[in-house]
């Protein structure tokens, strides 16, 4: 059954690609491009993480010690932008590049050259974003949501950010079109839609969401640009515009964006949990349906981000109800993962630990999301650290933990080497401990009324902030351990067996050698 392709080509390294740096500049190979996406996103993760360390260092004690308020605001703004657009999103695209063709039995992505271009736009955008710290007036400082009037008043840094977002958006749209086309047109014979691995399904739906909302983001930043430089008044009340309209347009992009960052993590977790439970995914079809359902619902809930911006009661109730209903399909997913583990022959290697950590902490983030969705409560907690705690539970212990799970799970397939299991477990437990130390206490800070995006605070918030900062430093250092584990694995890890995880059932494990050859599935496998 396991017709192994690639063996006929020596070790699969007989391709004729340029060597050295030009290999990476000119590559159209999905694996090379996936690798570049992953390294790029990790580099940006370290940049965004360094900004977070700066934020937490300033908040370690009340008073202004390290960062002046203007620079502090630039740090919070760029931390958010870099983590969302530079770290989490490209990391998922990296996974898609590596995994989607291998999981559906395709030889490469549909548009291989566009794939190269999608990636190489990213360093350009990142350079614009990071260099904005060094222009007169500094980087954008109006928060990652760049609401006007702050964003219409900022300096050159805001323009650099706008162009950067344009480029990142173009890259995302190209990447999504590529992923959609690959999945719809290049599946191996017999790989019907309802046989696709969950990771592929979640990425298909995510890619559609990206194509839907990225142009909206491009539109709104363009309106911002023309408001700033070309005399329009889209968001200027004095000229007949409306700053609240910006919030509506931004969040029409922004809320699906949240799901863009979480649906592929659902996909990764849906691959890892069955493998280490040695059982098929419970309720595969309901997982597919729930993913589609979440995607549709995500487009009709945006205004829950702006309950306090001024809205009729009808609007508040509509968005409150619609938001709370998202908990239903999300609950279906959590139930299915739990049911998959039920009575499974479970083992707890690092990917599984991160996947279980994901479920546990994502549920906390989900529940605090439902709490924030309730209008009267949201009016109390909006713009406080409660909201910060909520979305870090979703994006760090959600998206990031799933990315770690995926990295540990697939690194043997990518490199042919095993990571150090002991160190991997240390990475998980330290991340788990320090993550909660950093963010759990922020719920209390928020409920006590500490506002977000401030460099200084009243004395009553001092203790929890100190705990949170210490946790953040620990979490930041722990991620260097992840870097060490990965480099150690790539350079000198033990040789991985052909099938390191005996519960894995997807094509890249069953039909390809380990490590995966440079060109895989030149002849498509037959899927039964």
């Amino acid at each position: 059954m396991a017709a192994v392709h690639g063996d006929a080509h020596g070790h699969g390294h007989d391709d004729h690609h340029p060597s050295g740096i030009m290999r990476w500049v000119t590559t159209t190979n999905h694996k090379d491009i996936g690798t570049m996406y992953l390294w790029f996103s990790f580099a940006m993760f370290l940049v965004g993480g360094t900004l977070a360390m700066g934020i937490r260092a300033e908040l370690y004690q009340p008073g202004i010690q390290i960062l002046q308020p203007e620079l502090f605001n630039q740090f919070t703004t760029l931390h958010g932008l870099i983590m969302v657009f530079g770290a989490i999103m490209p990391a998922f695209v990296g996974f898609a590049n590596w995994q989607v063709p291998m999981m559906i039995g395709a030889p490469d992505m549909a548009f291989a050259r566009m794939n190269n271009w999608s990636f190489w736009l990213l360093p350009v955008a990142a350079t614009l974003l990071v260099s904005s710290f060094f222009v007169p007036g500094g980087a954008a400082a109006g928060g990652w949501t760049f609401y006007p009037p702050l964003s219409t008043q900022g300096g050159l840094g805001v323009d650099l950010m706008i162009f950067s977002v344009h480029i990142l958006g173009a890259s995302s749209i190209m990447g999504s079109i590529n992923i959609i086309t690959t999945i719809l047109n290049m599946r191996a014979p017999g790989m019907t839609m309802m046989k696709m691995p969950m990771f592929v399904w979640t990425w298909l739906i995510t890619a559609y969401l990206l194509v839907l909302v990225m142009p909206v983001l491009a539109g709104v930043v363009t309106m911002l640009l023309t408001d700033r430089h070309f005399g329009t008044s889209f968001f200027n009340a004095a000229g007949g515009g409306d700053p609240v309209m910006f919030q509506h347009i931004f969040w029409f992009f922004g809320h699906p964006e949240v799901y863009i960052m979480i649906l592929p993590s659902f996909g990764i977790v849906s691959e890892v949990i069955p493998t280490f439970s040695r059982k098929p995914l419970f309720g595969y079809s309901s997982m597919v349906y729930a993913t589609a359902s979440i995607a549709i619902l995500s487009c009709v809930v945006w205004a829950h981000h702006m309950f306090t911006a001024g809205m009729p009661t009808v609007g508040q109730l509509f968005f409150m109800y619609a938001t709370m209903l998202i908990a239903v399909p999300t609950g279906v997913k959590v139930f299915n993962w739990t049911a998959t583990m039920w009575r499974g022959s479970m083992t707890f290697e690092t990917p599984m630990l991160f996947a279980i950590g994901f479920i546990f902490l994502f549920v906390i983030g989900g529940f605090s999301g439902v709490i924030c969705a309730i209008v009267p409560i949201d009016i109390q907690v909006q713009d406080t650290y409660y909201v910060i705690a909520h979305f870090h539970y979703v994006l760090v212990s959600g998206s990031l933990f799933a990315l770690f799970a995926g990295a540990y799970y697939w690194i043997p397939k990518w490199t042919g080497r095993m990571y150090n299991e002991t160190l991997g477990k240390w990475h998980f437990w330290l991340s788990m401990f320090f993550f909660n130390m950093t963010f759990f206490v922020q719920h209390f800070l928020g409920l006590a009324g500490m506002p977000r995006r401030i460099p200084d605070y009243n004395l009553q918030f001092a203790d929890f902030n100190m705990i949170s900062s210490l946790g953040a430093f620990g979490f930041g250092l722990t991620q260097l351990l992840f870097l060490y584990i990965m480099i150690n694995c790539i350079r000198s890890g033990e040789k991985a067996p052909q099938m390191p995880w005996d519960g894995a059932t997807t094509l890249e494990w069953t039909h390809l050698p380990t490590p995966a050859p440079y060109h895989s599935f030149e002849k498509p496998p037959i899927v039964k």
Binding site: G190, T192, M193, M194, G283, S285, S286, M287, Y289, A290, A292, S293, I296, L297, C299, V300, T313, V314, L317, F318, Y321, A322, L325, V328, P329, V332, K333, V527, K528
Partner: protein, 69 residues
Amino acid sequence: MDKITKKTANASVWQIAKAVISAFMGIRKKSDLENDAATLKPAQVIIGGIIGGLLFVIGVLLLVKLVLS
């Protein structure tokens, strides 16, 4: 058996509606699903999903009106 089944046309509106409703709930019986996969075309499901989304929005709006009246 595993060859991509030729879509037989004329899935009933009710069948599309059932598929969409169960998708919104996130729960579907396996036999029904296989039946859907054999008979429904993607376009039907997508159009059904859009209509379902509109009905969902109208439904929540009606609920809000009811609550506020």
